[in-house]
Symmetry: C2
Subunit: 203 residues, 2 copies
DNA sequence: TCGATTCTGTAGTGATCGCTAAAGAAAGGG
DNA sequence: CCCTTTCTTTAGCGATCACTACAGAATCGA
């Protein structure tokens, strides 16, 4: 059924992802993309549609690979505190890894972008992540591990802000240990836990 | 001495500042600037040099006006704790004010920008602010208000990250009270203070 | 009033933006 | 083999980028 594609679509998508990660949506040009992907513009458009759809695929791939640690941390730990602590620690690790651009693509790639669809797409992912944090904390409130008057939305906003600050610090050159110290300090805001089987103490 | 300028240079600079604040350096076009400033390109170039120098003047103006609360908070309070607490509280206020774009121009305007000079200029301001925070904390360590083993650099990085996260949250639509809650939670990381005249306790 | 000077608007510079028409190259089916 | 299909390359589309040549308009000193 015709000539076969001469490049690895998945590998090219990963290169495009890293371009968008490093330079953001708008500052990444088709010329920069094709150079990084090792192909010519018509091959890019035939395989991925256009710049906007290529970006959407790159974001999807990011969530399934580099950004998947977030969902794992929040679902695989026994307590909300362990989940958030692991989330911050793994963010410190991923954001400063030298095998890919620094920081978080979901946080930085849409900054200073004109396209409203791109802004909404990334903001939706950020709001979704914040909601997952809040729901994980709410679960521990319902199971009486955390006080009933815990400000779950406030804590979720706080940890979302800390993670976004860590991403910015990483892009400014902060090291892994720098961010691990930020993560450790951020955990001091965690509310006093209620012990299992020890009823009554609310503060 | 020739024809007099027909527009208010200071007012035009403020409009340019807000354009750069909202859209960042690279995504702000000369066409957008001239439209916001109410002048034509030749007037802009005659009065401000070029886009790069106009941006530098806008950053300088920002530091002297919208961003001046930062230095004031860190120099006018009696203790480092009060200084940082005021810094966070005023940031929550300024970043969500509706009289100008949300967030902090120093933090966001250089994201996803290619020009290395712009990146270095803004990063320099961020590093400078972080250094001022650290020096304010070190002052309280020297005066024995804070423990001698306080990780001043770690605390400075942490509060810098929190402020950067607050800026991102503001640009995502967070309210003033949202950011005030973030500020309050962030203060839980503050080390235990040593009381004046009560010697010895180091933790 | 007049020349000198400086600002202003019009209009356009070359370069780059995202994107694509056209034609040659490589694969499958007959 | 040849025809069809799909990929590839070259080349260039209109639009926008930062920036400016040019000439008219406005203000100065004389």
């Amino acid at each position: 059924m015709g000539r076969t594609r001469s490049f690895d679509r998945d590998a090219a998508l990963e290169r495009a992802l890293e371009e968008f990660w490093r330079h953001g949506y708008e500052a990444t040009s088709i010329a920069g993309l094709t150079a990084a992907m090792g192909i010519n513009p018509p091959s890019l458009y035939a395989a991925f549609g256009d710049k906007r759809r290529l970006f959407a695929e790159a974001v999807e791939r990011y969530q399934e690979t580099h950004g998947a640690f977030s969902t794992r941390a929040l679902t695989e730990e026994a307590t909300a505190r362990d989940a958030v602590e692991r989330l911050l620690r793994e963010a410190a690790d991923v954001y400063t890894s030298t095998t890919h651009p620094p920081g978080c693509m979901i946080i930085s790639a849409g900054v200073n972008t004109t396209d409203p669809g791109v802004i909404a797409e990334l903001r939706g992912h950020r709001e979704g992540a914040k909601r997952v944090i809040r729901e994980r904390i709410e679960h521990d409130v319902r199971s009486a591990r955390l006080p009933g008057d815990t400000d779950t939305a406030g804590l979720a906003t706080y940890y979302a802000a800390v993670i976004q600050g860590m991403s910015t610090q990483a892009r400014d050159g902060a090291s892994r240990t720098d961010l691990e110290r930020v993560a450790a300090l951020a955990m001091r805001a965690w509310p006093a836990e209620l012990l299992d089987g020890a009823p009554g103490r609310t503060a």
